[in-house]
Symmetry: C2
Subunit: 459 residues, 2 copies
Amino acid sequence: MQQLLDHIAEIVGRDHLLTGEAVRQRNADWFTHSPCEAAAIVRPANTEQLSRVMALCHAAGQPVVTHGGLTGVVHGAVAAPNELAVSLERMTAIEAVDPVGGTLTAQAGVPLQRVQEAAVEIGMQFPVDLGARGSCTIGGNIATNAGGIRVIRYGMMRQQVLGLEAVLAGGRVISSMNTMLKNNAGYDLKQLFIGSEGTLGIVTRAVLRLQPALPSEQCALVSVPSFEALTRLLNLAPRRIGLSAFEALWNSHYRLMTEESGAHTPPLATDSPFYAILESQGMDTERDAEQFQALLEEAFEAELITDAVLASSEAQRQAIWAIREDIEALVRTLKPMFSFDISLPIPAMETYVEGLEQRLAEAFPGVARLVAFGHLGDGNLHIMVTVRDAAAECRRAVEQLVYAPLAEIGGSVSAEHGIGLEKRDYLHFSRSEEEVATMRLLKQALDPKGLLNPGKVLG
Amino acid sequence: MQQLLDHIAEIVGRDHLLTGEAVRQRNADWFTHSPCEAAAIVRPANTEQLSRVMALCHAAGQPVVTHGGLTGVVHGAVAAPNELAVSLERMTAIEAVDPVGGTLTAQAGVPLQRVQEAAVEIGMQFPVDLGARGSCTIGGNIATNAGGIRVIRYGMMRQQVLGLEAVLAGGRVISSMNTMLKNNAGYDLKQLFIGSEGTLGIVTRAVLRLQPALPSEQCALVSVPSFEALTRLLNLAPRRIGLSAFEALWNSHYRLMTEESGAHTPPLATDSPFYAILESQGMDTERDAEQFQALLEEAFEAELITDAVLASSEAQRQAIWAIREDIEALVRTLKPMFSFDISLPIPAMETYVEGLEQRLAEAFPGVARLVAFGHLGDGNLHIMVTVRDAAAECRRAVEQLVYAPLAEIGGSVSAEHGIGLEKRDYLHFSRSEEEVATMRLLKQALDPKGLLNPGKVLG
């Protein structure tokens, strides 16, 4: 390997090939905090350097793991001692912002938040948003098809990508930097690299679609008397307001985040079976507030909600969202905690959660506990489980209980986090043999030596 | 081949294997009106039958062309005498409509209009809309990634497909009937079959995403004094109204459709260099009308428009749209007419159209004429050219003039119509050698014998 590393150092410069302690000082990923074990970390300055590095690795049969912001939660960027990590941290230029076409062209290493800010500077917005915005990178967002809280309105990362450039396993550069909303000239190759977690190619640059900024934002927390009322509210809301988020909190979650942990003052009584956070974005603050108020009144009269608090200031808005987003309070109360990100058809959710609670109680009597919340409109639930024991066999047992029922109801073991290493053994609950075989066909076609992020997704 | 046909007849039933005159009575496609030349037309009743037919064809090395509604315009469904056509005309069931999840599950042969109507019945909408809605099928819309007039708001067909089922060349059924907005469990295989024009697999069923119905619709035709004003108006409109369509008409188009052809009374004087049709969709007719009116006033004061007519009735709305959609009047005035569907970055459009007019005038002095209009917000232009001569060499010469400049400005030879046979030789103007090579890799991986829609897209 030393010979290969010497050649790579000639391409990227000695300073940009990290080895030994410099590698170990970095984390493997955000969740584990264990040191990175890669043989070396390569930091190319541009696509051309990366292409040459990949050609060398291909010739040498050297496996490669791509590093973005390392904020993933499924161990998708973990690198073994025989693997080389490629970090795109030097490719951080925003190359173009086009207010007429409403596009932004960025290198893969640009943090999400810088893209959001660059959009705001020209009076637009980039609508993908998630907690890791300051660290996660556009390349990582694309490779994992990131979701977040505004999917119900704007879709996932896939829908924001108009064009991209990727380097294939052999070093070939696929440049599909399309800037138009419409382009049906042959196969849409960029789809291959979105959400395939670095196993089919390395994303180096992208053209992103921007959206008009919407200056008015309304937000409310409501108490909901039943799951049926929750789904009817979800159906009603987009007919009355410019709905941009609809988050559901099971009582287990709301009560823990407020009363039990003491982390947040409960804005509404804690005895309702469900709560929801509704957010709208629009163009006219006064009118939007009226519409929002009218929706709440209508929902109250139809007995879809029993109580509500409408944020009347930015501080109140943040206080409502904090109940949803404060993962630390969750971890503190439930540790050791197993965290799940699944999706399933909305009509199946209530029964699924009740069934899971029951199965957990049977398997871990007296200690099991489940907290559920999530992006209801997207069919996406986050489920936190503790059995007060972090042992690997406990984790495996809980994973089985969480994932196995999804097969029958057409759910997914991963809504937005991806598969990585963590969910690889459960892929078959969500994908048929024929689907997995076809994924392997693609992997074989694009990376015949299996050098790109080995073992992730398909194993 | 007779032996193969006998086996196929056993699977689908003798009545559903058309041969001879029954085949010749059908058109090859909507544009040519020439008879279908396929060896036979197979009409499977369901996915299982199709799977068995495809397995037989694969074993026999028999090429297959899929037929939906035959409304395509790039000869993507033309079948040669040695080819078998598979028509999905018997697979016309809407299998499920879920108002809670907002999804509709349909077989591939369902006409677009029936999906739209089924959505309306539950108070929702299916937003893809195009002139061929009564005949084109969901399977064809998916295979060609159909566009239409509401892409600016809702995206193309690709964005409406949550899940799909497809039969591969060898008969393997890939069933990815996902119903959730979010599913990151491995590669998103459905993307392979969307927009690949039946060359990678045959779409048999799909889960479509529905949108809330928006009862209020506003529409106006405006006169725009310059291309720069047109782009500024496009930038302003989505900040003021719920913009759902933004169509631009060059003076050449507007004048022809009104004054010259006599087909439509001009609602505005015919001396403006550009016109635009703006449409908004919203929830509250009164408020939306106020907002729309306010936008027009603001645009007038900012000198982005010089005149406007706001539709105050459904008849007026239809009269405005008829100027845009009356293709017959165009054909009558310009015949023999060559029709183009391209996309290019919006800032490059004005110069492109002017340059093309000039090159046409030089190549065909005294007879060449160009008319331009299209979905400006999507970067999509429709360009109609006549040189008063339909000869193949004239067509080739005009195609060269239209397509060649797109390479340099990053445009596409096909915005929404696809490649089929018609644009195959021009794919290289929009896609690099590396891109085409990667498309061939996919084709080779999924259809190694090259039996699916042979010669289309890649040749």
